[in-house]
């Protein structure tokens, strides 16, 4: 009996304390908003409506293949959002210099900002040094630029292609925050998983960790590489809804920069 009364008293006291705490807490919360849990976390309780995101994915696929004395960089020309197409002829390839081109897929606003940034830095370099940046130098610059925004990244999946200082083809593949590696071939974007196994099958290059060090450039001729790129894009366009409309192919070699365009399925 006594315990019961004691319990009731305790609970009353507890409730009063709780009430005081609650109002103090509310004031605290108003002053300093705690970081908001992702609504889809299991810890945050019942599912809430998805909040506004600063990012969007405009889709698309980019591919690059490095050869002994050339580099092929290609990207589709479709820009989409959700299940809608925004435009069928948007170029994802940005030619930075005579020996270097950048193909990016992902969030086009961030990509435009990134391209502007790199362009400005490249122009500054040209004024200061009297020459254009080499492709490996641009590769490092791109990595640093991406990591600079490590905690609010550029939603851009990049493939940089061009000729290195010896005139050999080079391709660099990046993640969204700047981790990069020189490879013989790369694909990024929505069709990456569809295209990579095919490129592996045709071009498998040695791992840079295997000794003796082997060439990263592929043994294909330029025409064969361009045909391979066209085939892989045609296949990707069949199965990936975000890839299609057309593919822009840029070839960089000793003669300069050549551009071609191939139609893809529009569905």
């Amino acid at each position: 009996m006594h315990e019961n009364i004691a319990n009731i008293e305790n609970s009353k006291r507890a409730k009063k304390k709780e009430h005081a705490n609650q109002s103090r807490e509310n004031r605290n919360m108003a002053m300093m908003m705690p970081p908001r849990l992702n609504p889809t976390d299991s810890a945050s309780g019942p599912k809430q409506h998805q909040t506004w995101s600063p990012y969007d994915n405009n889709g698309g696929t980019c591919v690059a293949i490095a050869g002994a004395d050339y580099c092929v960089i290609a990207a589709d020309t479709r820009m989409s959002t959700g299940f809608s197409i925004l435009t069928r002829d948007h170029s994802k390839i940005f030619v930075i210099s005579e020996t270097c081109a950048l193909a990016s897929s992902g969030f086009q606003a961030d990509i435009s900002a990134l391209q502007k940034n790199l362009d400005a830095r490249h122009q500054t370099y040209q004024h200061q040094h009297g020459k254009q940046m080499s492709c490996p130098a641009m590769a490092q610059l791109l990595s640093n630029t991406l990591y600079y925004k490590r905690f609010f990244p550029y939603y851009a999946f990049n493939v940089l292609g061009g000729l290195d200082d010896q005139g050999k083809g080079c391709v660099y593949s990046y993640d969204a925050v700047g981790s990069y590696e020189r490879v013989g071939y790369a694909a990024q974007g929505s069709g990456m998983q569809l295209i990579m196994p095919v490129l592996d099958n045709q071009l498998k290059s040695a791992s840079p960790l295997v000794l003796p060090k082997r060439e990263t450039a592929t043994p294909l001729t330029e025409a064969e590489a361009v045909d391979l790129v066209k085939d892989t894009f045609a296949s990707a366009a069949e199965r990936d809804i975000y890839t299609g409309d057309g593919v822009e192919i840029v070839t960089i070699n000793a003669r300069g920069i050549q551009k071609q365009y191939m139609e893809l399925k529009k569905d």
């Binding site: 990579m196 196994p197 095919v198 296949s235 990707a236």
Partner: protein, 204 residues
């Protein structure tokens, strides 16, 4: 980790000239730990009908046992083997029975009809059938398989060429998926015979 990518799997079936081929990887894992490198995912229902099951290993085995049971009963009652289209409907019906507590399996059915016309079909985990005249894919490596098959497939391939194409497609695709691989097994079924081949692949 999703329940359908708990064990890891890769399955593909292709149609050739009066024949079909069905292939799978051999790895069974528990998340990232490899447990077996000789796991069977493709089962024979009768000499012209095969079923491959991707997804959760326990459901693969249970579904196969239940389908074998149903087919044996059918053989007793009808005194003949099931046609591939009929079997596909059976699989679809059995999966939909568990609509609100499904088997975590995505089967591929491949068979040769009485008139030696090859038939392939896949269903999702609750039985939605999807027929195809070229190839079907299933498993954790399915996106890679779609890309590889789309590039490499040609219609009306002879059995030897079909074997080459399906093997290259499977091996290239599982090499880009860390939870499937450890080689492969391919069945090429023609009106005269069934050829079984094991593939040696990357053992990681």
């Amino acid at each position: 980790m999703s329940i359908t990518s708990y064990n890891g799997s890769a399955l593909v079936a292709m149609i050739g000239k009066n024949c079909f081929a069905i292939a799978s990887d051999r790895r069974l894992g528990v998340n990232f730990q490899t447990i077996a490198t000789d796991y069977q995912r493709i089962f024979q229902i009768h000499d012209r009908l095969y079923i491959g099951l991707s997804g959760l290993g326990t459901d693969v085995q249970t579904l196969y046992q239940r389908l074998k049971f149903r087919h044996k009963l059918y053989q007793l009652r009808e005194e003949r083997n099931m046609r591939p289209e009929t079997f596909a409907s059976l699989v679809s019906a059995m999966l939909y029975e568990k609509r609100f507590g499904p088997y975590f399996c995505e089967p591929i059915i491949a068979g040769l009809s009485e008139e030696n016309v090859p038939f392939i079909c896949t269903t999702d985990l609750i039985g939605a059938k999807q027929f195809s005249s070229d190839f079907v894919v299933s498993g954790t490596a399915s996106e890679s398989l779609y890309g590889a098959c789309e590039s490499m497939y040609k219609p009306d391939l002879e059995p030897e060429d079909l074997f080459e194409v399906i093997s290259q497609a499977l091996l290239s695709s599982v090499d880009r998926d860390c939870i499937s691989g450890w080689g492969g097994i391919v069945y090429i079924v023609t009106p005269e015979q069934v050829i079984t081949k094991t593939l040696k692949g990357r053992t990681d």
